[in-house]
């Protein structure tokens, strides 16, 4: 019989949390690696498809095979058209698969998973803080939409032609750490910026700013797993409007669940309060369907459909 007991003395909980079962984690690593190479496949001779996908993939990345959805959304808005296509892709994939692409394919999610493996002490974030900090991602999402939309209206009315790149993709140009890692640094190396005698004289202010932003996001993501995904990513924020109602979901069987245990929550990289979620399936926009909780407790947790 499951009884309420002190979690510190719960042998089942200890047993669950030390289970060496990482089957899903291994599969996911293979998937993340495969997608990383696919998304940069121009280097292997794949051709570029001009299609938006719901992950972070800066279109300026030299070998990118597709468009990151949020970059495409800003660009289409900024040239003066409503981004039906991108929203459609986000709605459709979000409604069926939730944030599966975040857990299994996104290169920036992968980057954070690698960071979280560094043996550096983690910060524990309370549930309300975890939720409140998500407001940043909404701010980045709507801020970028407003800026891109503003220039889009001007271009639509013929008051503006051309324009600086940041007016087309404000988030990518000013904040996006993926753009810094995969685009800016690539060209900085290629153009030999780092070979010059005085680095500070030759790099632009935006370069320094973006390096600073990248350093901050890197540090936070080392201390808190998937911190950029949880709180800052506008792509994840947009997908999150749909993903909490997805058909594919994670289910917890309460009859097999043990009181006082929280091994699944400890394994969750985004801090989903799993034991508070409905047994119908997790309906939380933080969940990236990574399956770490299923690895942690294969008896009670499972992937499932919510028809």
């Amino acid at each position: 019989m499951a009884t309420k007991s002190n979690p510190e003395n719960n042998p089942l909980k200890e047993w669950l949390s030390t289970l060496p079962n990482k089957r899903i984690r291994t599969l996911r690593l293979v998937s993340q690696l495969t997608f990383f190479f696919l998304f940069n496949g121009v280097i292997f001779g794949l051709s570029r498809i001009q299609f938006p996908i719901p992950v972070v993939l800066p279109p300026g990345a030299p070998y990118a095979t597709a468009w990151g959805g949020f970059s495409a959304l800003q660009y289409i808005l900024a040239v003066g058209q409503f981004p039906f296509l991108v929203l459609g892709v986000f709605f459709l994939t979000g409604a069926i698969f939730g944030k599966l692409t975040c857990g299994w394919a996104c290169p920036v999610g992968f980057w954070q998973d690698l960071l979280s493996w560094l043996p550096i002490s983690k910060i524990k974030v309370s549930r309300p803080t975890n939720r409140d900090l998500q407001d940043f991602s909404g701010f980045f999402l709507w801020g970028s939409i407003i800026v891109a939309g503003f220039f889009g209206i001007q271009r639509f009315n013929g008051q503006l032609t051309g324009g600086d790149f940041w007016t087309f993709m404000p988030f990518d140009a000013i904040i996006d750490p993926a753009g810094t890692m995969f685009v800016t640094y690539f060209y900085a190396l290629l153009w030999g910026v780092f070979d010059t005698d005085s680095l500070l004289d030759t790099v632009g202010n935006l370069f320094l700013w973006k390096t600073f932003i990248l350093a901050i996001f890197t540090y936070i993501s080392i201390k808190v797993p998937r911190a950029y995904c949880r709180w800052f990513c506008p792509t994840g924020a947009l997908l999150g409007y749909v993903s909490s109602n997805s058909i594919l979901t994670i289910k917890r069987d309460p009859t097999k669940c043990v009181d006082g245990c929280d091994a699944c929550e400890k394994a969750c990289p985004t801090g989903v309060p799993i034991t508070d979620e409905s047994t119908d399936g997790i309906a939380n926009n933080l969940c990236i369907l990574c399956g770490n909780c299923v690895d942690a407790c294969p008896d009670a947790m499972s992937f499932g459909f919510r028809f």
Binding site: P59, I76, F84, L87, G204, A283
Partner: protein, 67 residues
């Protein structure tokens, strides 16, 4: 079984299909194709402020987007 949740994903499914069809009909794929069609100047303007001065002898973009 939460009905409201199912109504929501069903709505998003229908909206998603409708939006994708509308977007393709409005040639949004062509808009995305514009920017990577070997637009050297646009990319150069985009990248140069981050990377520093454009006056350097080996300033050359690779051309994967020409492919």
């Amino acid at each position: 079984m939460e009905l409201s949740l199912r109504i929501k994903y069903f709505t998003f499914l229908i909206l998603g299909v409708m939006f994708i069809v509308t977007g393709i009909a409005l040639n949004e794929l062509d808009i995305l194709a514009e920017i990577t069609r070997g637009d050297f100047d646009a990319w150069y303007d985009f990248l140069a402020p981050w990377v520093g001065s454009s006056e350097r002898p080996n300033s050359q973009l690779p051309v994967p987007w020409d492919q």
